[in-house]
């Protein structure tokens, strides 16, 4: 099977690309400048996505899968035919060629194969987030985290390097990536959630257990976020990501603040999106998308349910730990007042065992949380991003439909003008029609593009999900094994002592 060989070539070494890019720049779809840190999720249209920036490696990828590329046919033959079919009334949709042909020529596995080869050859990067440090005082204080990257990939200047980042930097990174990639169908991992309550406690300077726990929770979440982001072979090469990981100074991402104007704009857009979604009814002709959407929806429901149960388990285990500690103290007191010496000793031993149990319960509760609960929470949020991507596809489809309608209108207008004697207006109408036809073509291409991307992304996402769950759950079970082993050790000693009463 023919690999997207050229794609591999481009994304290898940054240096070589400059010349290639300049050559291809004219041919690429991009022509407009990148929006920077735009909160507008309705986003610039697809065209505005990429700029001529030589650093933007993404241009190549899009180029690669353009309609004219020969490689495309072999891999993506499920897509619609390149020709624009004549406009029919808006209610009908140009159906991509699917059905039994789909199964023959386009199978998931062949795609996965390619993806895997690509990934395995060059993916070797590990990111850790550590050393949370409070910077500043009072309400302006913030936590700075050390982000360390260890890699052998030639994409980076060094093999090991660190930078200091604060939480809003992470949010800023996500915001940039989302605005660039979400509406063309890439599943961008969501950033960890803000927590005003949690952060305020830290800012106010309470050095207690709950604020320490909060910081640790956040540190772990940030680490997982970065690892998920770089595991995505497209996102890894994004200049914003590279800058985030490498450069010592990063401009403050102010627009990530909840109450900033950008934040408010985001909220308004989210609301508008929600309304739009309710009114758009897409004639889905590709069963694959409907199937996948349903699959993700039911997965979402199940994961949420499971998440709630696991959170409850964490809570109860912490309670168990506290109650066990209290019982241990009580048993020790009882042992003290017992006047039979051997029994008194046994009761003290009981108190000791229960103290150990308390510690074990606490450790297990942490494992419950970090290995199981957080995994589920992450995936609930990821599924929201997946849903967003499917929604963007619908929006893209709608745009295409709207253009078609507009074209039709213009054609009708032109037809009317034919019977009048306004030759200049007629010419204008004809010109407009030509433009409109171009737009319709472009919109159709965009729709096909996002559909293709989503198919790839879903495949990648599912693979990641399988790996993630397997690894985490195995680690979790191992934590349970460790706990049981410790329990056995403790009760063994206890039994030995009590038997001598």
């Amino acid at each position: 099977c023919h690999r997207i060989g050229s794609k591999m070539l481009y994304l290898d070494i940054r240096g070589d690309l400059d010349s290639e890019i300049r050559e291809r720049g004219t041919q690429s779809l991009s022509s407009l400048s990148t929006e920077d840190v735009s909160a507008n999720t309705n986003g610039p249209n697809q065209d505005a996505l990429f700029d001529d920036d030589p650093e933007d490696l993404f241009a190549e990828a899009t180029e690669e899968v353009s309609l004219d590329s020969p490689e495309r046919d072999i891999l993506l033959s499920d897509g619609p035919s390149p020709a624009i079919t004549p406009i029919t009334p808006p209610t009908s949709v140009i159906a991509p060629r699917i059905g039994h042909t789909h199964d023959d020529m386009f199978t998931h596995s062949s795609f996965d194969e390619i993806e895997e080869e690509e990934v395995d050859d060059s993916f070797d990067i590990n990111i850790s987030v550590s050393d949370p440090e409070k910077v500043g005082d009072g309400m302006n204080a913030y936590m700075a985290y050390k982000v360390t990257t260890k890699t052998s990939m030639s994409l980076f200047k060094q093999r090991e390097f660190s930078v200091k980042r604060r939480f809003s930097d992470f949010l800023g990174l996500h915001s940039k990536l989302a605005s660039k990639y979400l509406h063309v169908g890439y599943i961008v991992p969501p950033a960890p959630e803000k927590s005003i309550v949690g952060m305020t406690k830290v800012k106010v300077g309470k050095e207690d257990q709950s604020s320490n726990e909060f910081v640790e929770k956040r540190r772990s979440a940030l680490e997982r976020y970065l690892m998920r982001t770089v595991k995505h072979h497209i996102l890894l090469k994004d200049p914003d990501v590279l800058q985030f990981l490498e450069s010592s100074e990063l401009p403050r991402a102010v627009s990530t603040q909840a109450l900033s104007s950008a934040g408010l704009l985001r909220m308004v857009n989210k609301a508008a999106d929600a309304v739009n979604k309710m009114t758009i009814k897409m004639n889905e002709s590709d069963a694959w998308f409907e199937e996948k959407q349903q699959h993700f929806e039911s997965l979402d429901v199940q994961l949420r349910k499971l998440h709630i149960s696991v959170e409850s388990l964490v809570c109860h285990r912490k309670e168990l730990s506290v109650n066990t500690a209290q019982f241990a103290k009580s048993a020790a007191m009882l042992g003290n007042s017992e006047d039979h010496t051997a029994l008194s000793r046994a009761l003290s031993q009981l108190a000791e065992v229960e103290e150990k149990m308390d510690q074990l319960h606490q450790d297990q509760a942490n494992a419950d949380f970090y290995l199981f609960s957080e995994l589920l929470g992450d995936y609930v949020r990821l599924l929201a991003a997946v849903k967003g991507v499917f929604d963007h596809r619908i929006k893209t489809w709608q745009k295409w439909q709207d253009s078609q309608i507009l074209l039709q209108k213009k054609r009708e207008a032109e037809a009317k003008l034919q019977f009048t004697n306004k030759s200049d207006k007629l010419q204008q109408a004809k010109d407009e029609i030509k433009d409109m036809e171009g737009r319709v073509q472009q919109d159709e291409r965009d729709f096909e593009q996002i559909s293709r991307t989503i198919r790839k992304e879903v495949g990648r996402f599912e693979k990641e999900r399988v790996k993630d769950f397997k690894t985490s759950i195995i680690k979790y079970l191992e934590s349970l094994v460790l706990t049981q082993q410790q329990v056995i050790k403790s009760y063994f000693t206890f039994r030995y002592v009590t038997a001598s009463v």
Binding site: L320, N323, Q326, M333, L334, D339, A346, Q484
Partner: protein
Amino acid sequence: MMEGLDDGPDFLSEEDRAPRAVNVDLQTDATLQVDISDALSERDKVKFTVHTKSSLPNFKLNEFSVVRQHEEFIWLHDSFVENEEYAGYIIPPAPPRPDFDASREKLQKLGEGEGSMTKEEFTKMKQELEAEYLAIFKKTVAMHEVFLCRVAAHPVLRKDLNFHVFLEYNQDLSVRGKNKKEKLEDFFKNVVKSADGVLVAGVKDVDDFFEHEKTFLLEYHNRVKDASAKSDRMIRSHKNAADDINRIASSLYTLGTQDTTELCKFFLKVSELFEKTRKVESRVAADEDLKLSDLLKYYLRESQAAKDLLYRRSRSLVDYENANKALDKARSKNRDVLQAETSQQICCHKFEKISESAKQELIDFKTRRVAAFRKNLVELAELELKHAKGNLQLLQSCLGFMKTNT
């Protein structure tokens, strides 16, 4: 619905039939053996079948059974307490009232919520609650039995007439529960007693043995109370965690059946694992309840009974001292001397009798206590080890399977 729990003689398994003297180390005596062979739970009461085997001549038959309810046990207990003759003994504590309210409420709620959950969930929860009901039921039977066994093992109490009537008379004893007036009287009696108890406790005892016992019991009783409460809380948390694991297992099962990737096999295996470990965790909680909580609760009641004995002794000591004072006064005034003398003699005799038997009772109490704690703690350790090993094995075999299949 609960009637079905009484499946006749098979209801109590073999292991349950043996004297369930969990918290008391009693010598079974062939001359008088008492146990509860059967029990039936009805709407708002429990009927215990008390079964007696005896070679004593005062019973008509060698083996016989009667049906008794909780109130009748209380009547018997109270008759011991009120009997002056038994002032010098630790009266075996009365069994607590059977309390199925919480369990019944849960089952009712489940019935009401039947429409809102899947059939599997409903059956599962129903099984859980029925098991809980059964556990409470078994416990109350055990506690009533222990009471009877303690009485039967006591050299003096076993000869009590009321006890024999209780065992043999196969009609209803027509013991009504206390009415409001009587309950109020009891309340006041208790208030007076505790106030009195404080006064009496202040009196320093000449006898070292009793002085030591007094201090010891006071502190011990309080600490057992605390330990019992904390143990209950700990076990409840344990049960809650086990319930969570149950829900997690169900969710994982649903995920496993719905997933389209190779994760489905994975989820189903883990779901199966958690189902099993959950059962083990529930048993751990149940065993801790039995061996630890019940033990502490029982000795809370027994130490109270021992305290009551000390109180009665102190009371009689005070009476004795008062009688002495009265005698001196009578002698000095040379009036009613004979009366005072007899009164003083009675008090003296009473006090000495109580002191003598109390000493023995307290020594026995300690022996019983040490034996019961030892037995239960060893059994607790054994059970915890057994369950932990079981859990470990389940976890390791599942992990092994998963690692080879990845």
